[in-house]
């Protein structure tokens, strides 16, 4: 499975029609230790660039955007009790939400790992 990236520092990994979304290690470092993570309800329709979740550090709240259009299909409930999981493993155990994407091909218009790194 290929991971794609956004300019707003999300990553998305597609498995068939369902994708997993989180924030990049770079974003996590910038935000600092998280104290709260919450996604919009399952079933919420999102367009590419819509706020789908929020992560909060002590000082600030930051929206996490849907990289492509789709329907939210799950939240990493482990983060409710352990928001620091995002910082510890941002692109693995610290994933934030899942979504059914409207058009799987949409992800190919996002950034590749190499393109993201060169930002």
């Amino acid at each position: 499975m290929t991971t794609y990236y956004t300019k707003s520092h999300e990553w998305i990994r597609l498995d068939g029609e369902e994708a997993t979304v989180g924030i990049t290690a770079h974003a996590s470092e910038e935000l600092g230790e998280l104290v709260f993570v919450e996604a919009k309800d399952e079933g919420t329709d999102v367009a590419a660039g819509d706020a789908a979740a929020v992560v909060e550090s002590v000082k600030a709240a930051s929206d996490i955007y849907a990289p492509v259009a789709g329907v939210l299909s799950g939240f990493n409930t482990k983060l409710s009790d352990e928001p620091t999981l995002v910082g510890n493993d941002p692109e693995g155990e610290g994933w934030i939400f899942k979504m059914k994407v409207s058009n799987p091909d949409d992800v190919t218009s996002l950034l590749t790992a190499e393109q993201y790194k060169s930002l």
């Binding site: 600092g32 230790e33 104290v35 709260f36 909060e56 550090s57 002590v58 000082k59 409710s80 928001p83």
Partner: protein
């Protein structure tokens, strides 16, 4: 960052320490160091943290008569605190008011024996110095010392960290102020701060700032702490941030700061009133106000932040206040906030609701500070 931003005397050291610098009140200031906000906050509560707060304004006021009491009486024409009754070597909180009893700035004033030593907020320092000069210049000489450095050493191990460098620090009590030497450098040292912990604030010449900072950072208890943790520490301590929790639209009584107006300046006191907006403050103290600044804690873990509206009901029908500061409290391990609510809802433990991303989160009015103070009285 633009060239128009000013730098503190500790700028080079801040960069060397790996600080993330941000613009604040016209200065390039350290938001956090590599340890990060959370670790810095907790370190300050358990050991000792060093803060660069050189952006704040230091002002000296001496009376033309030579008697510091005359300077104190003159300053009382702008501030509703008892400074004429402030003993030599002691410091006291206060605020400048306008004719509408709004708060122009909050500050610390110390009686240094020969003159007054005043510390004001960075964003207000030009305004404050101008105001004080205009009102006092016939009776006093007002000296801006905006080029001086100011550091804060805060935390339960602050005394232990400072003692090897400055023996005199050990015998000071909360709100004492002395002129002394620290690591061989002349400093103005107060036992006070903005974190709710025991600690000191250290004023010195810009050229000596790095010597002092390096000597303190060499102590095993001390880590550098940024403005991010300074904000969460002061919020847990229930202390106001000028511009957020108090400003020209809030009066001292609405802001629950009546404690900072000593008996001599209250109704029936020997120097009752006599400052801008005094009639309003005296009336509000007598008759009450329609809104009050209170502490708030939200249920769950989601921080309720500045600007969040407060409601009496879970449906968001009856708006009764607003949050002015809010964050996740690293020591409390819960969301903490302060804000203004209609007086009918200002009682401790009153259940309210804060609007958060379109939902209404249960919050309760709670007594401040949210953490037990560590002052050495």
């Amino acid at each position: 960052m633009t060239d128009s931003l000013q730098r503190t005397p500790l700028h080079a050291l801040n960069l060397e320490l790996g600080a993330k610098m941000v613009p604040f009140a016209g200065y390039e200031m350290p938001l956090q160091y590599p340890a990060g906000l959370m670790a810095e906050h907790l370190h300050t509560r358990s050991k000792a943290g060093l803060f660069d707060v050189s952006h704040m304004g230091q002002i000296r006021i001496s009376a033309r008569s030579g008697d510091v009491r005359d300077a104190a009486l003159a300053l009382e024409s702008l501030i509703p605190a008892d400074y004429a009754g402030l003993a030599k070597g002691r410091q006291r909180y206060g605020f400048l008011t306008n004719d509408a009893a709004g708060i122009l700035d909050d500050l610390m004033v110390a009686n240094m024996g020969d003159d007054l030593f005043v510390v004001v907020n960075a964003s207000c320092k030009e305004q404050d110095a101008g105001l004080i000069e205009a009102a006092l210049s016939n009776r006093c000489v007002v000296t801006r010392q905006f080029d001086r450095a100011l550091m804060a050493l805060q935390g339960p191990q602050a005394q232990e960290a400072l003692a090897p460098l400055c023996r005199a620090a050990v015998d000071m009590r909360f709100m004492d102020v002395i002129e002394t030497e620290l690591a061989g450098v002349p400093v103005t040292l107060s036992r006070s701060g903005y974190t709710g912990e025991d600690g000191y604030e250290i004023g010195c010449a810009a050229a000596d700032a790095e010597t002092v900072a390096r000597a303190l950072l060499a102590q095993p208890q001390v880590l550098p702490i940024g403005l991010g943790a300074r904000d969460s520490l002061r919020l847990e301590a229930g202390l106001c941030l000028y511009g957020n929790d108090i400003d020209t639209t809030t009066t001292p009584i609405e802001a629950s700061l009546a404690w900072a107006i000593q008996k001599a300046r209250r109704e029936g006191g020997s120097r009752e009133g006599g400052y801008p907006g005094a009639e309003i403050v005296l009336r509000q103290a007598r008759e009450g106000v329609s809104r009050k600044r209170v502490g708030l804690m939200a249920e769950g873990r989601a921080p309720v932040r500045a600007g969040a509206k407060l409601f009496a009901d879970a449906e968001g029908q009856k708006e009764i206040g607003v949050v002015t500061s809010g964050a996740f409290g690293p020591t409390v391990q819960a969301p903490v906030a302060m804000g203004y609510v209609a007086t009918d809802y200002a009682g401790n433990d009153t259940a309210l609701f804060a609007e958060l991303r379109g939902k209404f989160v249960p919050v309760h009015i709670r007594a401040m500070p949210f953490v037990a103070p560590g002052f050495k009285r």
